[in-house]
């Protein structure tokens, strides 16, 4: 049964991108275990406001695990100590009375800190803009059932397309690599006949942009797959490598 617990929080506070950050410690009493982790932070912020202190800034929006906005590094895990969840789906029943919980922002060269626990993930948008799409304009497209797609391919494409662009893969990687993110998009589109046409070009353009933006290399540690809230598999990275090599051979 869920009950109320008392906890200690060690939270990274940083005023701005150029400022020096540090951990600060807070105590929080009577936290209902049926609350989500972010609701616990709401409680803390309520307490801070009532003390006239500045609340902790953190990104969050849909609070149902799909927008990809929340991005907390909790006790050494992106999104915290539970599987297949984003931070907003982490519940306080995963913690015990008296626990000390450490909360940090995503840490990676590709994601500079904006304030406290907020980071700038615009690099992901830039990678998609480099080629993460099928080049069709609105209008003039054929009937949706014109090209049958084998169910297995459609399902595999959907598995890859489930990526929410949160950046946990980058935060989990000791090299700060964005390979899983890029691979998910390349796979999603390469598995569909509509996306096959530009598959090689897409892989090359997206990888080039990723390298340019300061993300590290992939050394196959598999940490990204373990921490991915949407279970994106590293087999997608193998597919990306194949598409990338094919493109390079053509050059």
């Amino acid at each position: 049964m869920d009950k109320n617990i008392n906890i200690k929080l060690r939270i990274w506070r940083q005023k701005g991108p150029k400022e020096k950050g540090a951990f600060e410690t807070y105590e929080l009493k009577n936290v209902y275990q049926g609350s989500s982790f972010l609701e616990m932070l709401d409680m803390l912020n309520d307490q801070l406001v009532s003390e006239g202190k500045e609340p902790v800034a953190f990104d969050h929006d849909c609070r149902e695990g799909i927008c990809g906005m929340c991005s907390l590094y909790v006790n050494g895990h992106p999104h915290g100590p539970d599987e297949e969840i984003t931070t907003c789906q982490l519940y306080m029943r995963k913690f015990n009375d008296g626990d000390t919980i450490t909360i940090e922002p995503w840490r990676s060269a590709g994601f500079p800190v904006v304030k406290d626990l907020m980071v700038d993930r615009s690099a992901f948008d830039k990678i998609i803009q480099a080629g993460g799409y099928i080049s069709v304009n609105t209008g003039g497209t054929p009937d949706a059932n014109t090209i049958p797609i084998p169910k297995d391919n459609a399902e595999a494409a959907m598995d890859a397309a489930a990526c929410i662009g949160c950046g946990a893969c980058v935060a989990a990687c000791k090299n700060g690599s964005a390979m899983l993110f890029v691979a998910a998009k390349v796979s999603h589109l390469a598995l569909l006949p509509q996306g096959r046409i530009e598959a090689a070009k897409r892989a090359k353009a997206m990888v080039a942009k990723m390298d340019e933006l300061g993300f590290g290399n992939c050394t196959n540690t598999g940490a990204c797959e373990v921490e991915c809230p949407k279970n994106i598999s590293i087999t997608n990275i193998a597919r990306l490598n194949r598409e990338f090599l094919k493109a390079k051979f053509k050059d």
């Binding site: 609350s35 609701e39 849909c62 609105t138 949706a144 662009g165």
Partner: protein, 647 residues
């Protein structure tokens, strides 16, 4: 009273849109580059509009509140998108989709708009597939469908329980391509705080940069608002935390009519409220009603025993369960529209048959479907929803029924628009949930995605040209004009006032109180007495907020408390208008249920003679009662009836 001109084209229903397109004005390609368009919002409507307008050659400036356009709340739509493809050979057609939508909306939507929506629905599916949206497929490789409430055909296309996500990623990828090609310029982490009107036309916006805190000015030839609904007025809703009504509200204050504010949708299947720090309510997709059966115990003593934790739902024998939707509505059963299902749940819980610790929950049970189809089929269809439920409630829905209760989900009301999706301010357009146009008094499931994308991909790119055609000679506007100065000054004063109150309570403290008033008196069941009380209470609370809120930090940096305070200041006023409109509409229709107006068996009792109109509210100034204009709904093609889902 001003005549409301909805600009509905003449001619037979099925030919109106074609006729419009055949005769509208267009802008030639060379002139398009000289015309700037601001699009606020990057959800399904905003992203699809920005991408499509950019592709056409207009110079588009696109704004969003999140750190990336991919995170707009359309992403959370789960179940699906409707289209009249009739791939299932089950009798669907454009007319039937039109008719179901009009009927589902309880005859409070415009016929011409809804027919156009149904016509366009098929194009959306074609485009999405071409963009790479991985819709569910049959083993033969063709597209699969499922059923949603208010329909007797299977016309809903879906991508597992993440259809909104996949469609938004489709629109986002089109937008990303347009950004790459230089057709759209993207501005993230910006919040629109005012609309600029020059000589009676919308010509720009003022935004706050949420990272630097700076106030920024942008000018354009036309402005499109695609900022979603105002459901968060109720504090607890299925909306995202940043979803707000402020952009729409600024448009209203600048003269755009606000239509049918009282038409709010309460979704029947959400995870019930659990504690006082609950920040939002999570939806469980309507698609679950394809296979889940809704029930409460037949005997009050069983319900009491369950609430006390002495009995489990699985202990209740089949003959002691009341499948109340199947009992009351045999023809549609568990697939009645949302407003009907929500009220039926409230009725049972109010009568003392509710379950869960608070007694405000009903069961959604999959045991029959699991027996019939096997666990693996259910897992394939709804796996992610079951997982989500388990994480939140710590109970396994494969083993025990889900607990659900209605919650605020969507707002059918919004900025008034004509057939061209233009508001009452020339040059200001509103699309998606931000406008009021297509869902009448109740939206059917899987129709929001359809409408958002229809507006953005296929309607606005045409109708905007009809407006812009005579703007090609108008030079770009200077943002140093006095209209911008004045608006910026107003915003700075408002922010400074909020920052200096230095009271005792946080923003959420007031928002929760507002939410409580709204849910109790302006929620699922409303009465004249309750609404009058709510109006008084909201006014008092608003005053308290403006004298006792506390916002730490400064305005020159990231300050989430300030962002929330600015939004809440508008929610108070929106709440007042919802209540005022609800008080004025002395009938029950769709999501608007007035307890004084019901049939003997508790169904909504419409009054077509007096209330077959769109309420269009015109702002008159602070603390002044707005003026009500009425746009009559002249049904020419279907005959409004009392909705019947029983036989």
């Amino acid at each position: 009273m001003t005549q409301i001109n909805s600009k509905i084209p003449e001619g037979p229903l099925a030919e109106k849109w074609t006729n419009y397109k055949d005769h509208q004005k267009l802008v030639n390609p060379a002139n398009k580059r000289h015309l700037d368009i601001i699009v606020v919002g990057t959800g399904l409507a905003g992203a699809s509009a920005a991408a499509s307008l950019g592709e056409l050659g207009f110079n588009v400036l696109n704004f969003c509140i999140q750190d990336s356009p991919r995170r707009a709340h359309s992403i959370a739509a789960q179940g699906g998108i409707n289209a009249a493809k009739n791939y299932q050979n089950d009798g669907d057609s454009v007319y039937r989709l039109f008719y179901d939508t009009i009927k589902g909306g309880d005859y409070r939507a415009r016929e011409a708009n809804v027919y156009r929506l149904a016509e366009i629905s098929n194009d959306i599916i074609d485009l999405s597939v071409a963009q790479g949206v991985p819709f569910a497929r049959e083993y033969g490789g063709l597209l699969d469908n499922r059923s949603f409430g208010g329909a007797q055909v299977s016309r809903t296309f879906y991508a597992r329980g993440q259809t909104g996500q996949q469609l938004l990623v489709g629109a986002y990828s089109a937008l990303s391509r347009a950004i790459h090609k230089g057709q759209v310029k993207m501005y993230t982490r910006r919040e629109m705080l005012d609309l600029i009107v020059i000589d009676g036309r919308a010509r720009g916006i003022i935004v706050r940069n949420l990272v630097t805190g700076k106030i920024e000015r942008y000018a354009a030839h036309a402005v499109v608002v695609a900022t979603g609904g105002y459901g968060n007025t109720y504090f607890l809703s299925t909306n995202a935390m940043s979803s707000n009504g402020s952009a729409a509200w600024q448009c209203y204050k600048k003269g755009a009519y606000f239509a049918n504010p009282c038409m709010t949708q309460i979704h029947p299947t959400c995870i019930p409220v659990q504690g006082e720090f609950q920040s939002k309510l999570t939806l469980m997709s309507e698609s679950l009603r394809n296979d889940g059966r809704i029930w409460v115990p037949k005997k009050k003593e069983d319900a009491e025993a369950i609430r006390a934790g002495k009995l489990k739902p699985t202990d209740i024998k089949e003959e002691d369960r009341d499948y109340y939707l199947e009992r009351r509505y045999p023809a549609y059963g568990n697939l009645v529209p949302r407003d009907v299902a929500s009220r039926a749940a409230k009725e049972r819980c109010d009568a003392g048959y509710g379950v869960g610790p608070t007694g405000y929950a009903v069961y959604l049970d999959f045991s029959d479907a699991i027996k019939r189809l096997g666990k693996s089929v259910i897992e394939e269809k709804y796996g992610n929803l079951f997982q989500m439920y388990k994480k939140i409630m710590n109970e396994d829905p494969y083993e025990t029924p889900m607990m659900i209760y209605p919650a605020i989900h969507y707002t059918m009301g919004g900025i008034w628009v004509d057939y061209e999706l233009m508001t009452s301010i020339p040059g200001l357009f509103a699309i998606g949930e931000a406008n009021f146009s297509d869902h009448g008094a109740n939206r059917l499931g899987a129709s929001a995605l359809m409408q958002g994308l229809a507006d953005g991909y296929f309607i606005l790119p045409y109708t905007m040209q009809n407006y812009l055609a005579d703007q090609i000679q108008v030079p770009r506007f200077d943002t140093n004009r006095p209209e911008f100065d004045e608006a910026e000054k107003g915003i700075e004063e408002r922010i400074s006032k909020l920052m200096h109150i230095n009271g005792k309570h946080s923003v959420d403290y007031f928002h929760k109180k507002l939410g409580h008033i709204m849910w109790e008196y302006v929620g699922m069941s409303r009465s004249a007495e309750g609404l009058k009380f709510a109006l008084k209470e909201i006014k008092a609370l608003k005053k308290e907020f403006w004298t006792d809120v506390r916002i730490p930090g400064t305005e020159e940096t990231v300050n989430p408390e300030l962002e929330k305070a600015l939004r809440l200041a508008d929610f108070f006023e929106i709440g007042e208008l919802i209540a005022l409109d609800a008080l004025h509409r002395e009938e029950s229709c769709g999501g608007h249920f007035r307890s004084e107006y019901q049939t003997p068996d508790g169904e909504a009792l419409r009054n077509d003679e007096e209330f077959s109109f769109v309420s269009c509210w015109e702002y008159q100034g602070e603390d002044k009662e707005p003026i009500l204009h009425k746009e009559p709904l002249n049904y020419q093609f279907v005959v409004p009836q009392q909705r019947n889902y029983k036989s």
